[in-house]
């Protein structure tokens, strides 16, 4: 004989995010480890090298990438606007925020390609060059995936699928996009600032 009991709902103070949000958080943890592994490799090779960059090759210019760093980090701000807007049910704010963020991300992405074109060294030249391309390339890939995700969220937003109470997709995407931006701070500091070539 089984007995049935009524379960009281949890107090609102105890409530946290649903499964999808946590899934993204754990994915970000493991992704962060990939970048940590690559950046550790960078500093490992740098520590055993007689000079840096190796072979006296000219590293990319710090001035321009600083500008585009502001662009990329700035692309996180419209995501905050978009989230704040949809929490109040403001569809227009959501759409504009996502669109603006997409454009800023795309500009950063375009600069990456231009930079690759203009660099004086190729990926096979030496370990510095390989690491430089691997790390910026992997980050670029993450920006690209983020832009794809933005597209999906944006189409849904233009269709009006999100409401003030149901917009988890926006927040999950936001998490990922902020991660891509925060990782860039580490990449930027390691690959550009610490080499310091104005």
């Amino acid at each position: 004989m089984t007995t049935a009991v009524a379960v009281p709902p949890a107090s609102p103070r105890r409530r946290t995010y649903p499964t999808g949000w946590w899934g993204m958080v754990v994915l970000i943890m493991t992704e962060a480890m990939i970048f940590a592994g690559l950046l550790s490799s960078y500093f490992f090779v740098r520590a055993i090298s007689p000079e840096w960059p190796l072979g006296h090759i000219e590293p990319p210019e710090l001035r321009r990438i600083s500008l585009f760093t502001v662009v990329l980090l700035g692309s996180s701000v419209p995501i905050f606007w978009a989230e704040a807007a949809i929490r109040k049910g403001n569809q227009r704010g959501l759409r504009l925020g996502l669109l603006l963020s997409f454009l800023l991300g795309a500009i950063f992405m375009a600069n990456l390609f231009i930079e690759y074109e203009e660099l004086h060294f190729g990926v096979r030249d030496n370990a510095y060059a390989s690491l430089y391309y691997a790390i910026t390339g992997l980050h670029g890939l993450h920006v690209f995936v983020g832009l794809l995700m933005n597209l999906v969220v944006q189409i849904k937003a233009w269709q009006g699928k999100f409401t003030a109470s149901r917009h988890l997709t926006v927040e999950i995407f936001g998490l990922y996009w902020h991660f891509v931006d925060v990782v860039w701070i580490f990449v930027f500091s390691s690959l550009y600032v610490s080499v310091g070539h104005w």
């Binding site: 004989m1 379960v7 009281p8 499964t19 946590w22 899934g23 493991t30 480890m33 999906v152 999950i172």
Partner: protein
């Protein structure tokens, strides 16, 4: 309290089965997202790899039985030990534990599926395709031959020009996706899908162990992914990461590899310990002694495991200070392992032991783990390690911990949990026979390896000269390995025979305490008609009859009862104290996971054969799969 339903139970259960059952035949096979089906598939597939790896081991032994033997040539020998190690680590141990985790976790937590059922299916398909990918190397006659850790410069393009190592490098990246995705699923399921009342201090120890394993995977696997990816970049695109001539570092590869490699040992060991910690209390007929100590030790092992990787590189010529630190950390890990050991001894001491087959395997595990742990302490001491590095002593040590302390619990778990999965008991007589054959065979095979190692026999050398004093012991080792192999086959016989002749298991054949034993055997597709309400660490012992939750009106309790099960829903609960929070819709069968995994397989094949078109095609298929998946996601229904 009220009587649960007005309608007869059979009628409701019939209705539930219809809702939860997969489509019959091939569509259901490729589209299923049922954690039980996926879990069993994991176990079956992994065991196929287990026997392939076992066969490889027997060939290795055949070659080494007598001096100057000519059973296989040196090249085949290299391929044999490489694929034996790779298969056992990547394609048997890791996935078989994920299989048990997949099957048991939702049941032990009292829910209806994993947090991400489609990802679960995806991780299985990736695993099986990655396994096939690596074994395709045999079909084209080019199996990997650089050892299971593929050190440079042996494995660079100059010294290993063939396609062999690309199967290994790409396969490792590929199968890592499966492991990572599975770990994400385990973590979120554990924190968000527990039955109401199952607060974090009431988790079964197996769940604790899977949780610790999953966190280790999350932080460790990226390192091996990076190592293998950079290796493949060097090999395929001519980059210079590990090329010393162009400023790279071969030592860097070792660091990256072992930053994963050592936690990996505990990724395998910890869930096996979790299994033993479930079986010993049940067969000692008492609650586990020192639950908090055991759970704490599992977590402690997970942490410390990240501070010991350099002990694999003691002979690589690192600074003495660095090595001393890692030597000390390696000694420290003996403390939580020792605590666990005393937890098991105390449980048996204070209980009344029933000598069933799962208990025998657990008990055998204690002896083997003790021996493996002691040699572990020995090799963490620098001067000793320098003496035995790359000798047969190391082979003996890691087989004691990885074969003895992981495979024995897994075999015990087969006898313990297969009745829940198939509804039939396995033969106790065959089980005992299998255990004794494996236990004796194991020690006869692996103990003399310690001695051989101290006598100077190196690992990975395909033959040896006469008159070195190794002849007798090598014959003994081979005899032991045959006996061990025979023992494993006996379990397969018991497994197959149970399907037709096994006694019906009933709900709870072992009188166990955790929630998976509350449901029928084999488990019905819907797991729980109504979600159980937990008020104890040992619900089936302390809560008779086990209370079921009623469906309420709010988001959090709506799916607790049968109406939720009928609507494909399961409750989400709060992270620490498992209070009713929300309702989650469980996705229906879908081909998306299979499609996405297939896309990845095509992509890796493209890299392997260096065909841009194939690679791009794979990326396109995978991207379409991902976008489609993201498009259809139910996240916003939550």
């Amino acid at each position: 309290m009220a009587v649960v339903e007005e309608r007869p139970a059979e009628e409701i259960e019939h209705e539930l089965e219809e809702v939860w059952e997969d489509a019959p035949g091939i569509p259901g096979f490729f589209a299923t997202v049922d954690h039980k089906r996926i879990g069993m598939r994991y176990i079956y597939t992994a065991f196929i790899f287990f026997f392939i790896a076992g066969l490889q081991a027997l060939f290795i032994r055949a070659q080494l039985t007598v001096p100057e033997a000519d059973v296989v040539g040196p090249e085949t020998y290299n391929q044999l030990f490489t694929m034996h190690g790779t298969t056992m680590i990547f394609l048997f141990n890791t996935p078989v534990l994920a299989g048990f985790g997949n099957y048991l976790l939702p049941l032990q937590l009292g829910t209806r599926d994993m947090a991400f059922p489609r990802l679960n299916a995806f991780s299985y398909w990736v695993f099986v395709l990655a396994g096939m990918f690596m074994y395709t190397s045999y079909l084209v006659g080019a199996p990997p031959d650089g050892g299971w850790f593929a050190y440079l410069p042996l494995t660079d393009k100059v010294n290993s020009p063939g396609i062999n190592l690309d199967f290994w490098g790409l396969g490792v990246i590929f199968v890592g996706i499966s492991t990572t995705v599975g770990a994400i699923n385990f973590i979120v399921t554990t924190f968000k899908l527990r039955a109401p009342g199952m607060s974090i201090n009431r988790l079964p120890l197996f769940v604790w162990s899977i949780l610790a394993m999953a966190f280790m995977i999350i932080f460790a696997v990226p390192a091996v992914t990076v190592a293998a990816a950079l290796l493949e970049a060097d090999r395929l695109f001519g980059t210079a990461f590990f090329d010393v001539a162009r400023g790279g570092s071969a030592l860097l590869y070792q660091h990256l590899f072992w930053f994963w490699g050592h936690p990996e040992v505990y990724i395998l060991f910890v869930p096996a310990v979790g299994m033993v910690s479930m079986m010993i209390p049940v067969f000692s007929r008492r609650a586990v002694s020192g639950y908090v100590w055991a759970a704490g030790s599992l977590v402690a092992i997970a942490f410390i495991s990240f501070g010991v990787w350099v002990h694999h590189m003691f002979a690589a010529g690192l600074p003495a200070l660095a090595m001393s630190f890692f030597s000390a950390a390696s000694l420290v890990i003996a403390i939580p392992s020792g605590v666990l050991f005393f937890v098991w001894i105390a449980t048996m001491w204070q209980g009344q032991v029933r000598w069933t087959t799962p208990m025998l395997f657990s008990f055998g595990f204690l002896f083997i783990f003790l021996a493996g742990g002691l040699t572990g302490v020995m090799v963490s001491v620098l001067p000793f390690d320098w003496q035995v590095t790359d000798s047969y002593f190391i082979v003996a040590h890691f087989h004691y911990v990885l074969n003895g302390a992981v495979v024995f619990p897994i075999f015990g778990a087969l006898y313990f949990w297969l009745p829940k999965m198939t509804g039939r008991m396995l033969s106790e007589r065959l089980g005992r026979l299998s255990f004794w054959s494996m236990f004796v065979g194991f020690n006869v095979a692996f103990f003399p390896m310690h001695v051989l190692g101290l006598f100077g026999m190196p690992r990975r050398v395909y033959t040896y000269a006469e008159g070195l004093g190794w002849e007798t012991l090598n014959v003994v080792v081979t005899a032991g390995s045959l006996l061990f192999g025979l023992g494993t086959l006996l379990t397969v016989v018991a497994w197959v025979m149970s399907r037709s002749r096994g006694a019906p298991a009933g709900d709870n054949p072992w009188d166990a305490d955790s929630l998976e034993w509350a449901v029928a055997s084999p488990t019905p597709h819907y797991n729980f008609r109504a979600i159980p309400v937990v008020a104890s660490r040992h619900p089936l012992w302390d809560q008779q009859p086990l209370p079921e939750a009623m469906s309420g009106d709010d988001e959090g309790t709506r799916s607790m009862g049968t109406p939720g099960a009928l609507a494909d829903e399961t409750p989400i609960t709060t992270g620490l104290d498992a209070g009713a929070e929300e309702t989650m819709e469980i996705p229906r069968e879908t081909y998306l996971p299979f499609l996405l995994a297939l896309g990845l397989a095509v992509f890796f094949t493209g890299l392997l054969v260096e065909a841009v078109v194939v690679g791009v095609a794979g990326v396109v298929v995978a991207t379409i799969g991902l976008l489609w998946w993201a498009w259809r996601t139910e996240a916003d229904l939550v």
